[in-house]
């Protein structure tokens, strides 16, 4: 039996992780297990004041449990890849590990009043998006689909927290794939 692991880094908002786990379990129809990831301080880049998502993925790969179909970590740290100012998350395309950052999903990050509902919706969408990559999906041209590329929270808000029909069909055809 293979599980979809949802990992929590030490600082992350636990309620948010629990909500994301539940949403992912429902959407993918795979049993979800929780996992403690600990600190990602080793990935800190003092020059940028952010955390490198590549070293995080490398660490996750080293720690990925044998019975894990996929491992998606959730962190509150702001992630980046060297060429970009930030990423909302990153996953190995068709691989085993991925990570989602909640840092830029909160209204407070943009100087606005906190809104838990908006924040959680964004977290669901990004978790579905990165998990979709883990199951081999690439970006979708359908703006409403969870697999459409979002580079701003506005674009995330425009998406649905679900896959469009063609992406869902591709997921079903993925070997060992989920029951979307």
């Amino acid at each position: 039996m293979k599980y979809l692991y949802v990992g929590a880094t030490e600082e992350v908002d636990r309620d948010a992780v629990a909500a994301v786990s539940q949403r992912v379990e429902t959407e993918f129809g795979l049993p979800v297990r929780g996992m403690e990831i600990g600190s990602v301080d080793f990935a800190y880049d003092a020059g940028r004041g952010q955390y490198g998502s590549i070293p995080v993925l490398e660490m996750l790969l080293a720690r990925c449990p044998a019975d894990a179909a996929k491992l998606l970590a959730v962190t509150d740290r702001d992630l980046f890849i060297p060429v970009l100012t930030f990423v909302f998350g990153q996953a190995q395309l068709g691989g085993r590990v991925g990570v989602v950052s909640l840092a830029r999903l909160r209204q407070e990050f943009y100087g606005l009043a906190a809104n838990r509902e908006v924040f959680l919706k964004r977290a669901y969408k990004e978790a579905l998006h990165e998990t979709g990559h883990l199951f081999g999906l690439v970006h979708c041209a359908e703006r409403k689909c969870a697999m459409s590329l979002a580079t701003t929270v506005r674009q995330i808000d425009l998406k649905d927290d679900a896959f469009c029909a063609p992406c869902a069909a591709r997921l079903r055809r993925h070997p060992g794939g989920p029951n979307v």
Binding site: P82, L84, V87
Partner: protein, 451 residues
């Protein structure tokens, strides 16, 4: 469709290279990386990338600007984006002057890169569509459009280029679907008649009398229904080329008429009394063995020699299997675009199946098979199953040696079949059989094999 477009990321820092490549792959692009300018130039020689992301500062004596200049020499249509961590106005100006499409400073905003790539791809898609449509509209095939790495095909295309500007008649022989018309059009377009009309006539499609009036035209009242004068294809092709397809199927009377046109470059319209003179280059094609038809008295020998001034013999697809992957990939790319389907690859299994198949319908059949597979396939990759409809036909018929056969019987059968396959070309048959031409002649005589 994104997947057709390939991107090359060039940066000496592996992490920069890999992280941008991974990010672009998530967007559905096929991305390759190079860790130096030299490697990038090498890769661009082998593959046509649509977009290059090139880091400005790279060690090893070849910086981003130099790399870009070399790539632009090889691939003038490529879009090159220079990336740098140390932006100065000077370097930006130099980069743009040398032809960079964009200049970006890293780390850059993901939205910026995403918009930039989308914008470039949009333009590339339009350019590509434009080229395809234009080609379709004018059917301007050139000798370079013939896709083949088979030496015999290369020889044919070289010969076509050499004789393109002559007025000599060309006879193209080849099985159905081998691309005889394509070669004829290439021949026309490569010569100095390219600006003049190319008129194609299928001689097999029409009854004798209709074909006669189709080729030579008719005068008003020459037969029932001829209520006005009509110009024939020969007149329409004046100054250009007439392509007579399936010439082996024409009637004895038309053979005589055609012979006269080839000899005198003049003819009479049906029911006409006035001679019409034309300057037309004749390119004829046939899928039947004309030599054999001559030997059997079905085709006039004098017409055959008039037509066969320059002979082009296109080998069937099964005799140039090395072209199957090339052609199949080309068809996938073109047809996926035309059918607006997001299919961009052939699996190894699919290729194996295509290579195993015998292709009696040649390139045309391959094109149709790829189209059918694209229409019915459900993923982005065409698999063996998508070509399942070829399975039945792939099974080679059981072949057995008749009981009581002698070595002489088998030798005779082998030589007969080989000569049929080379369509009577003895030199080629001898080379296939691995014997001297003189030995082959001797055996043909001994076994009384018809040629």
């Amino acid at each position: 469709m994104k997947s057709h477009w390939q991107i090359l990321v060039v940066d000496d820092e592996e992490i920069m290279c890999e992280s941008l490549a991974a990010w672009l792959r998530e967007d559905g692009y096929a991305v390759d990386t190079a860790s130096s300018g030299r490697e990038a130039v090498e890769k661009s020689r082998l593959k046509d990338f649509a977009i290059y992301f090139v880091d400005l500062k790279m060690p090893g004596g070849m910086d981003g600007i130099e790399t870009m200049m070399q790539i632009r020499k090889l691939r003038p249509e490529a879009s090159i984006i220079i990336i740098t961590a140390y932006a100065t106005v000077d370097t930006a100006i130099t980069a743009m002057k040398e032809g960079a499409q964009e200049y970006i400073v890293k780390p850059c905003n993901p939205e910026e890169i995403s918009l930039l790539v989308n914008r470039i791809i949009k333009v590339k898609n339009l350019q590509r569509e434009n080229t395809i449509l234009r080609k379709k509209l004018t059917r301007q095939y050139s000798v370079h459009d013939v896709i083949s790495k088979n030496p015999r095909m290369r020889e044919i295309m070289d010969l076509a280029s050499d004789v393109a500007s002559l007025r000599s008649t060309v006879l193209i022989q080849g099985e159905s679907g081998t691309g005889k018309e394509l070669v004829a059009r290439a021949l026309h377009n490569a010569g100095d008649r390219a600006a003049k009309p190319f008129v194609a006539v299928s001689c097999a499609a029409l009854a004798e009398t209709l074909l006669e009036s189709e080729l030579f035209g008719h005068e008003k009242g020459s037969f029932t229904g001829a209520n006005q004068q009509k110009h024939g294809k020969f007149e329409m092709a004046d100054g250009g080329t007439i392509f007579l397809d399936e010439i082996g199927d024409i009637s004895p009377k038309l053979q005589v008429d055609l012979l006269r046109v080839l000899q005198d470059r003049a003819f009479y319209r049906v029911g006409g009394t006035q001679e019409v003179r034309v300057d037309v280059r004749v390119v004829a094609a046939t899928h039947v063995n004309l030599q054999q038809a001559v030997a059997e008295g079905r085709f006039r020998d004098d017409l055959f020699y008039r037509l066969n001034v320059i002979e082009i013999r296109i080998p069937p697809l099964r005799e140039r299997r090395e072209d199957i992957p090339l052609l199949a990939t080309h068809f996938v790319e073109r047809l996926a675009h035309e059918l607006a389907r997001n299919v961009n690859e052939l699996s190894e299994g699919a290729l194996r199946r295509l290579l195993d198949y015998n292709w009696p319908g040649n390139v045309r059949e391959l094109e149709n098979a790829v189209e059918r597979a694209i229409v019915t396939c459900r993923g982005r990759i065409l698999t063996e199953e998508d070509f399942g409809f070829l399975a039945q036909a792939t099974a080679t018929p059981a072949w057995s040696i008749p009981s009581g056969a002698t070595i002489q019987d088998m030798e005779k059968a082998l030589i007969t079949v080989t000569i049929q396959r080379t369509q009577g070309n003895i030199k080629e048959a001898a080379s296939v059989l691995g014997i001297d031409r003189s030995t082959l002649y001797e055996k043909i005589k001994r076994y009384e094999i018809p040629r």
